[in-house]
């Protein structure tokens, strides 16, 4: 039972350690944020499992967890957020306690799942759809869940066999005397199928249950994505409101992903005319032109320009308009991530991020006139439009609202590629291990062939007794291919009578003579070798072709 208990603990700690290590790699710049969580998680898990091993009742365990928490968490330095430590410590302790409990597999699995979800959600966009790395991790989590269930079941069986209020018999390990060859293959296939089903169900259904929470991210300047728009006509840039969204999770550590709303035409640009027509107002104008910059900006009547999802640029060009194509009305800025600051300070007013032009290196600096003080008196200058409020902002959950450091705008940056980097290394490691296993698997037939050859005709001189033993091993290998096994206390003669294979009884007789020290002469050795080879062939003939094929992969041979 101890071994099975250790197995459960090892798997549970592996789950925790991998979840923590992965997220630490992803958020390596925010160790001060993660440290309280990890401290709480490790301390809680250790305490919970100690209480479980001491057979403490659950209500006593809850009180002890709280009491111990009150003792040590209050001693932590002020730089560590006590609230965060508590949030990690209490569930870690209880899940650690329940990882050895009865009928508590799912509850116990929740806290490790929370740690894994931090990494998975970090690569999940604002629509709550995880990226490839996240999906792989989600599948890995499903597989680990099955592994966790399996080791827990092994422990339950060990308890069932050894723990009872009434006396129990001492049971020996089952002895298989004959089994179907290749029985392991369907067993492995079953495990793979169940894992795959769990993997698929989790990857498909679980993200659909996730809910996002959004925050006002301020306004950012975005490129409208029209490289052939020419200069210096507007719109080259637009202003768009942004919302930041992330998937809700218990631990308030997740970074949000920015979602840029509908663009609003930039202020201060000029409308360009092509032959007295506002270029690009309603439809794209295409055609060759001698010089995209040869247009003449012309004043137009001020007024709102339609924006219906296409390019809202007013393209100029008297004769040769530039290529203008409708653009997607909603642009997503380059992948931004919101990083909440550490600590539990009150939420500060959200400061709009300064406009950052993105991905327009090929566009020369526009000649944009400054906005006039009185737009009504300056025809041709577009009245600055007021950015519409971000639509459909879901009010964040009070407990999950990320906090913004006062006086400083939230840091917008692309998510660290650590997730994919870690996953890539993990994949390389897995592939290496798989390759080693594959090589070992491929080498098995070679090992078997060499061993069988040595059993039949030794590569070097051996004693007669050893050669008799080798021949018997050859027979045992053939019988094992056919599914026959010898019992620990079964003599060769009894085994031969049970199995009924040609030549086996003669082999058993000679072997027993050798074991009992009765002299073996040259004829006996020759007969033993011949009988062994005959028995080997006869035994393998009983096996199915598939079993014979699989037997070449078996190691150890007997």
């Amino acid at each position: 039972m101890k071994a099975s208990t250790i197995k459960v603990l090892v798997v549970y700690w592996a789950l925790l350690a991998f979840g923590m290590a992965l997220y630490t790699c992803v958020r390596s710049e925010a160790l001060d944020v993660l440290a309280p969580v990890w401290v709480g998680a490790i301390a809680g898990t250790v305490l919970g499992q100690l209480l479980a091993l001491r057979r403490i009742r659950v209500w006593v365990a809850i009180w002890l967890v709280l009491a111990v928490g009150l003792l040590w968490i209050s001693q932590l330095p002020e730089t560590i957020s006590e609230r965060t430590v508590w949030m990690a410590y209490v569930p870690a302790a209880m899940c650690g306690f329940w990882c050895l409990g009865d009928r508590t597999s799912l509850v116990a699995f929740w806290f490790p799942a929370v740690l894994w979800m931090l990494t998975i959600l970090d690569g999940t966009d604002a629509n709550a759809m995880p990226q490839t790395g996240g999906l792989v991790l989600l599948g890995g989590l499903a597989v680990m869940f099955l592994v966790f269930l399996r080791v827990r079941e092994e422990r339950r069986i060990a308890l069932w066999r050894t723990v009872s209020p009434s006396p129990l018999a001492t049971v020996a390990a089952p002895v298989t005397l004959h089994d179907g060859a290749g029985a392991r293959l369907p067993r492995i296939a079953w495990a793979v199928i169940v894992s795959a089903l769990g993997f698929a169900a989790t990857m498909w259904l679980a993200p659909l249950l996730w809910q996002t929470e959004a925050f006002d991210g301020g306004a950012v300047a975005i490129d409208i994505g029209d490289p052939a728009i020419g200069l210096p006509c507007c719109p080259r840039h637009a202003t768009a409101s942004t919302t930041r969204a992330r998937t809700r999770e218990y631990l308030d550590l997740g970074r949000s992903h920015e979602h840029v709303g509908a663009p609003v035409i930039e202020t201060g640009c000029r409308v360009c005319l092509a032959g007295g027509v506002v270029v690009g107002a309603n439809e794209p104008i295409t055609g060759p032109g001698p010089d995209p910059g040869s247009y003449e900006p012309a004043p137009v009547e001020p007024g709102p320009l339609p924006y219906e999802g296409g390019s809202y640029a007013v393209q100029a060009g008297a004769v040769t308009p530039s290529i203008v194509t409708p653009a997607d009305p909603v642009h997503h800025a380059a992948h931004h991530a919101y990083e909440p600051p550490a600590g539990g300070q009150a939420a500060a007013p959200i400061v709009p991020a300064p406009p950052v032009p993105a991905d327009i290196p090929h566009v020369p600096p526009p000649d944009v006139q400054p906005p006039p003080l009185q737009p009504q008196q300056a025809p041709g200058i577009i009245v600055p439009a007021v950015p519409p409020p971000p639509h459909a902002i879901v009010p964040p959950h009070p407990s999950a609202r990320p906090e913004v450091a006062p006086g400083a705008p939230p840091t917008l940056r692309a998510p660290a590629p650590a997730t994919s980097l870690v996953l890539r290394w993990a994949a390389i490691l897995m592939a290496s291990l798989l390759m080693i296993q594959l090589v070992a698997l491929v080498l098995r037939p070679v090992r078997r062939a060499i061993a069988l050859r040595h059993f039949a005709r030794p590569f070097w001189d051996e004693t007669v007794a050893q050669r008799v033993s080798n021949a018997w091993h050859l027979v045992l290998v053939g019988l094992r291919d056919a599914g026959w096994r010898t019992g620990a206390d079964e003599s060769p003669a009894v085994f031969a009578r049970r199995v009924h294979v040609d030549g086996l009884e003669r082999c058993a007789t000679i072997l027993e003579r050798a074991r009992h020290g009765i002299g073996i002469d040259r004829d006996d050795l020759a007969e033993m070798t011949a009988s062994a080879e005959a028995a080997y062939r006869a035994a393998r003939a009983q096996a199915t072709p598939a079993a014979r094929a699989v037997s070449w992969m078996r190691w150890p041979l007997v």
Binding site: L53, W160, D179, P186, R187, L205, W210, R248
Partner: protein, 507 residues
Amino acid sequence: MIAARTWRLLALAAPSLVVPLVASAHGASRVSYATGIALSVLWLVVAAALLVRFVIALHAQFRSRDAASPWDRIDVLTAGGAAMMWMGLLALVGAAETGWASLGVVGVLGVGTVSIVALWTILVAAGDGPWHRAQVLRAVLPAVATEGEPLREEITLRDLVIPHGMRLFVLGRAQRHGTSSRYVVDGGASGEVVLRADLGPALRGEHPVPPLALWFGDVLGLTRTAVVHRGAAELTVMPRQLRVEDARALLGAGGDDANAKPAHLMPTEGTFRVRAYVPGDDARRIHWVRSLQQDQLIVRLPDELPLADPTVRLVLDNELAGTEALSCRAPDDLLDVLVRVWLGIAKELAAQGTRVTLVAAIDGRVCERPMLPRSAHAALRFGARVDWQTALPLERILADRRDKHVIVSGRPRRISTGEVGWVAVPEVAWTQVETALSIEKAATYSFPIGSPENRRDRRARERDRAIARWQDRAVFSQVMCWIDWSRFSGDYVARPHEGHAAVEMIP
């Protein structure tokens, strides 16, 4: 109060139905659509499989009353599986309420895994298919054992196909108060597997060993199949021989052939046997008339008291009602001791030349067997068959017999049949008290955490069982200890003495 099985059956069906409702109630249309479709399909498949299994089991039950109940057939979730299903449902509801992604993942994992494994179990393992060709051979060795000898059990499973992803669980108890044996066999075996266990000391009696309980459980511990009973056997355990000291005291003033007791009479008194004079004989014993008649000196031999009673019927009093209903071990222990003392006295007397007849009521008949000094084995077999009975009262066993009767009994009592001798075997001296009630500690569990034995219902059941044992023991003691010893003054009592039994006269 809903039964546990109802909860398990509900757990199989309810979460798959409730989750779409919960999801749609929270306005998550894509959740309700996708999840609802998936879970509805899963639920339909599971329900259809359950229905088919139920109908097949119902049909089988109509054909044979020994067949498993249809409800047992479809009750495939273990306690752990049902708990996971309900926890998964709670997690999904919690995910809808709080929006925590981890709860959604855990809920999907829980409900999905249990549903998939349950479907597999219903389709592959829940029927009779795996058992059709299976042979379960069971032997309790040695087949004829002696009381106290270590027993071992050997179970051979042949041609039993354990479905993939499943394990075989085997549970058996060879003797009523013996140990339980619990085996687990991993899946995949379809040939021959041997299971062995040491059952501990053998308990006297002819035991019809009840069949083993076998079932499959999946490797994740979420589902199981209905129990199948196979492998009944028989076991004979002969009583252990007990040396009884001073058994000859039961014969009264007589002795045996080697130790004749001379009468204290004058040399000229009494009836005489005669023989030829040999030097050294007392001259006063010369029978002169006979000497003249035979022309040689003839002497009279002194009279002796008769030899030990030529025949002793040693009767075992095994009449006691209601022992089957008693859950304590004391009745069986006392009967074992009675048999041991009974056979020990018989052996002791027979060794001294007394013709002893063993008498006991077995299977509603009075059975007698002579105790011969060199055929103890037959007597031991006879003793192995003895059990408590009510069919024949003690008077009927003794009726119409003029032989000397010695009754070995745990509760000597007045009977209408003439003079008999009693050997009382006091229950208090020969039986052990029941194991103490386990004290539940307030802060710790009695068993390692994770053991189902810690569950409140099981603890309550075990506590009730222990209390019942103690109460039964008290009742049994009241029945057996109600002896008016003063009425049996001059009879005998058998007490344990240094591993043997000593027969002493009741003062």
